[in-house]
Symmetry: C2
Subunit: 355 residues, 2 copies
């Protein structure tokens, strides 16, 4: 979906890397995160200042190979090292479908998946993953079990950008995760970053990445620096053409898609979508509603297995079961290519026509 | 050390990446390793054909964020999934100093570090990491415990290239790991690759990388494809200038450094270095000796703590203890920049002068 914007930008974000550039493992030996390119750190802080979505300046920046690696790095850094039992990792239902498998696939003795944050059944320490806006349902979230004692929080803010949701306040949590994939669409670069308040936690996350991949691609970091810098620059250009401002351009695209989807869904009589309350957005200065990257669609009670039903109509979705909830919910992507999204609308419309 | 070569190559390996390139997570949905760039796969297979160091064509290629990630992916893929006890991971002393920590830092229930392969005390399944040529001592190795039953082997062949060691045969093991860091010097790119015979093992390694980082930087893959392609091309140019052939150029640099180091060490009377037997190299067609990327230096019995002794002379080394053996051994880098290497020689010479 973002490709059209970057094509319009032409060669403004082109990077040129010579054969002799960036040979070393190191980027800045004086930085706690020694493999973080100074240009990328500057671009990240500049972008958060331009958007106002996170208090970046008093946090340490840790770069990761996508935010997946940073979720694992945060679990490692926040787990007690010398306990006989692994710490419980929870997230409120519906939660990001990859959390359980990511947490448990190595059967770590440091942390283990414990399911829905609502049902946390320990008085001991735990880590809560707070995804806001939430994947899959786009809802703005706060921690659920934060006041229950020894909780540590990881805020996955991958979608806390003005094209997806109103920016209500600059987030200022202990560990905040972001990713270029969701911010600018550059998923192939595998660049995520964490803003970490505590120095020791940032150091341990850096250690995780050192043991896991000995740092993060320099080429991707340099390119992400250029792309994030271009997005920051575009935020300053208020008087120019609409598509110049990355977030406005992308918000308009998403709003248009959501309007079309809501129209088709309304006509169907079979499906329904969440409503999002209008909120004042600090970035646009307007009252806006969320336009999430995913649609969390509920199917009528008459349909038993919604994924199967939609697959029969050639629509691929992810079942609510994967997100810890009922199979009458499915997740649809709102950020696919135009052709794909239009096909989705056509096929949904065909169902409504037939049933 | 390799920088001078790449500078001489000028813009032959320059990559240009536009803002709209490589946005997707996917590289080739039909490939088992769905995030592997077809250009990189082609360059890897082409390079192994040009050098003759590994039978790549009948193996699956799995790309990783450096070979560190592939070591972990291999442990995951080769571990039994439903056993109550973790599988033992061993390597012969002296072993690569990061193996123990990489294996154990998440306290996985799938695998655990069990130390020196010579002392393996299990009749059950195990994984042996075979590093050949070995880091730290440059010795050509075979598996130690391969005939003891349920052993699985991972061959870490990071240094099995003609600038470091004679190529005696095309390696044809089940799981073979390589990395751009050691082959061409591009450590900042974090590109490693595994050649994997078994389809299921390759699929599980791919799954590990999916859960760990959802793929590998596209920018790094595209650049590595160009760099490895240039190295392959340089191998064909036998009649041209010496520095044109990457491996010959690098081998000459290393041979020169080893000569200088051996001279200084000989004069010292305090230190000694391993000798490597001359072997026929299939790549050069000559009888050559190894010129490892590290020098494994033994200190005289009179020096109790060799690292401390050398640090007092402003020489930073890694202790034999870190490699599972005695502290009278230290590892020195042979692939540092010229200035650094010359300083090392000067300081070693000064010790000899004083003692």
């Amino acid at each position: 979906m973002f490709e059209s914007y970057w094509r319009k930008m032409g060669d403004k974000c082109t990077v040129v890397i010579a054969g002799y550039d960036s040979l070393s493992y190191f980027a800045d030996t004086k930085n706690l995160c020694w493999f973080l390119e100074p240009k990328l750190e500057g671009a990240i802080k500049g972008l958060h200042r331009a958007v106002g979505n996170a208090a970046a300046d008093d946090h340490h920046v840790v770069v990761g190979t996508g935010s997946s690696q940073l979720i694992l790095a945060a679990l490692y850094a926040l787990s007690p090292q010398d306990e006989p039992e692994p710490i419980s990792v929870v997230s409120a239902v519906p939660y990001y479908s990859s959390y359980p498998e990511m947490t448990d696939f190595l059967r770590s003795g440091l942390y283990k998946w414990a399911g829905d944050a609502q049902n946390l059944d320990t008085d001991g320490p735990y880590i809560e993953l707070v995804t806001s806006p939430n994947n899959p349902d786009g809802v703005t979230r706060e921690a659920i079990v934060v006041n229950r004692g020894q909780g540590k929080l990881v805020h996955d803010l991958a979608y806390y950008w003005p094209h997806y949701t109103p920016i209500s306040h600059p987030a200022d949590y202990d560990v905040m995760l972001f990713t270029a994939s969701k911010c600018t669409g550059h998923a192939g670069s595998r660049i995520g970053w964490a803003l970490v308040r505590d120095k020791d936690v940032a150091r341990k996350m850096t250690k995780f990445i050192e043991l896991n991949t000995i740092g993060v691609s320099k080429e991707s970091q340099l390119r992400a620096a250029k792309v994030l810098g271009a997005v920051s620059d575009s935020c300053q250009r208020s008087g120019s053409l609409e598509f110049d401002n990355f977030f406005e351009y992308s918000k308009n695209l998403l709003a248009e898609r959501w309007d079309k989807l809501r129209d088709v869904v309304k006509r169907s009589g079979i499906f329904s979508l969440p409503e999002y309350p209008p909120q004042h957005c600090l970035f646009t200065g307007e009252l806006t509603v969320a336009h999430p990257a995913f649609a969390w669609m509920k199917c009528s009670e008459s349909i038993e297995d919604c994924v199967k039903f939609l697959r029969e109509h050639k629509i691929l979705t992810r079942s609510g079961k994967r997100f810890g909830t009922e199979q009458k919910y499915v997740r649809l992507s709102m950020v696919s290519r135009d052709e794909e999204f239009n096909l989705l609308l056509q096929r949904l419309l065909a169902i409504q026509g037939r049933d």
